[in-house]
């Protein structure tokens, strides 16, 4: 029954698409020169052989711990990240890009290790990541590319590979694209108490299909679907779960001195994830645009989430200073294996990770882009996240981009 209904849906989809594309082909062929910039990428992006861009960004992230979230642990975290990105068009049909980033991480969960004798004491974490990509235009309407990823931390390394393919349709009123990414991650399993349990693997596979569509001379949109499969060691190695037992003395390793013992977090070895996302933007006037974006998500761990994000873009000074104001609402259900409290017996799968709990958040963001010259742009962005579990976050970023 399910297969038949799916086959019917596929048939209807194909018939509708073919009919629509045929209708588009009947439109008169444009007699004016081709637009040099894809609308989806907006103006100001360098195109053509010998052109490119170089960008720097310094990002700052901080979340404090107000005592909510996981009451047993201090979940404070600070990240400072400088990053560089470089794009270069070798020819009109071939370009490459590279992104290098470094994270300096200070977190209570890492510092906590120094309280256990089995770990000499890590006081911080350092992440280095490199992404390389190339894009080739096969024809006027077809293009594709490859991307590689490598990153490493003191207890985590990742190797990623991906391919993408895109085609313009209907007189370039639409673009259908596919991206296939796979990651092979290696985790040094260092537990909450510093105990080392060798290494383990995490494999991820994600297929994303997206549809860009011009809706009118002042509206365009993007819609996408991601299917992802993860397998292997999916826990956070240093996460623990507290099994509470009133008969025990206060545990000095716990933030709230609760009576109980800690055991390692355990989660299923596989996870299937589905995300449907989209956005549409409208050019209201010469100086203002508005956007509404959203995302629906579900996975096999029992987490369902909804996000929606309206945005406003406005030129404060024509062609020189633009502001972006955004608000994001996000809500999620808790994972099946999450519990606030575990009493006496620990189930096989268990987690007290606040990020896998039910919560909602409100994000308020502001960004300014100052075009100091036709080839130079300075960006300044800030977001404040109000989470219902008290783990509020602040993000700041300053960047400079030079196009040549």
């Amino acid at each position: 029954m399910l297969l038949r209904s799916r086959a019917f849906l596929v048939l209807v989809t194909l018939v509708t698409l073919s009919g629509w594309l045929s209708a588009q082909d009947e439109e008169p062929t444009p007699t004016i020169p081709k637009d040099p910039v894809r609308a989806a990428e907006g103006g100001g992006k360098p195109h053509g052989a010998g052109h490119g861009s170089l960008g720097f960004q310094l990002g700052y992230y901080d979340n404090s711990d107000s005592g909510d979230g996981n009451p047993f642990l201090d979940e404070a975290l600070t990240v400072i990240e400088p990053a560089v990105i470089f794009n270069y068009n070798v020819s009109d049909s071939f370009s490459f890009n590279a992104t290098v980033s470094y994270d300096d991480v200070s977190s209570a969960s890492i510092e906590r290790l120094s309280r256990f004798s089995e770990q000499s004491g890590a006081s911080g974490d350092n992440y280095v990541g490199i992404d390389l990509g190339m894009q080739v235009a096969f024809s006027d309407d077809w293009r594709g590319g490859l991307h590689l990823h490598q990153s490493s931390e003191y207890d985590y390394s990742s190797l990623g590979f991906g391919v993408n393919l895109a085609t313009d349709l209907a007189n370039k009123n639409a673009t259908l694209s596919f991206d296939l990414s796979t990651f092979a991650d290696t985790i040094d399993v260092i537990r909450f108490n510093g105990k080392e349990e060798g290494t383990d693997q995490r494999n991820s596979f994600a297929l994303t299909s997206s549809w860009y569509q011009i809706l009118s001379p002042t509206w365009h949109s993007d819609l996408g679907l991601t299917l992802a499969q993860q397998s292997g060691f999916l826990e956070t190695a240093y996460n623990s779960v507290v099994i509470e037992d009133p008969s025990l003395p206060p545990n000095r390793f716990l933030e709230n001195l609760a009576r109980g013992t800690e055991v390692a977090e355990e989660l299923p070895d596989s996870r299937q994830r589905i995300a449907l996302f989209g956005r549409a933007r409208h050019h209201l006037s010469a100086s203002t645009a508005i956007e509404l974006g959203g995302r629906l998500y579900t996975d096999s761990w029992g987490i369902n989430s909804i996000a929606f994000e309206p945005r406003l873009y406005h030129w404060l000074v024509d062609d020189a200073l633009v502001a972006r104001v955004r608000y994001r609402y996000y809500t999620q259900t808790e994972a099946d294996d999450f519990q606030d409290h575990f009493l006496l017996n620990a189930p096989k799968n268990r987690t007290q990770d606040s990020d896998l709990a039910a919560f909602d958040s409100h994000t308020f963001g502001l960004r300014f882009d100052w075009y100091t010259s036709p080839s130079s742009r300075i960006g300044l962005a800030g977001d404040y996240v109000l989470r219902s579990d008290g783990i509020d976050q602040i993000l700041l970023a300053v960047s400079w981009t030079w196009t040549f």
Partner: protein, 81 residues
């Protein structure tokens, strides 16, 4: 509800949403190149600054159980924090 039944229900929801969108596509008009001036304005660029996206993916969206913001892959490759 058991896991297979839940998976089937989710599959139906996704297919239904995708079908609804595809059925709406014929309603879109064709916009000629010379009519796209407004869409090419910097304030109409649908793609965010890649440096900003990179940072937010790792530090912000990874703190959500559904990891990945709007338009982001829900894949792996990040130990995150």
């Amino acid at each position: 509800m058991n896991q297979p039944a839940r998976t089937v229900r989710r599959g139906r929801i996704v297919w239904g949403a995708w079908l609804a969108v595809v059925l709406l596509l014929p309603a879109c008009q064709t916009v000629e190149f010379y009519e796209r001036r407004d869409l090419n304005e910097p304030i109409m660029a649908l793609s965010d600054d890649p440096l900003e996206t990179h940072f937010y993916q790792k530090c912000f969206y990874s703190r959500e159980g559904s990891a990945g913001g709007i338009g982001a892959s829900a894949g792996g490759g990040c130990g995150c924090y």
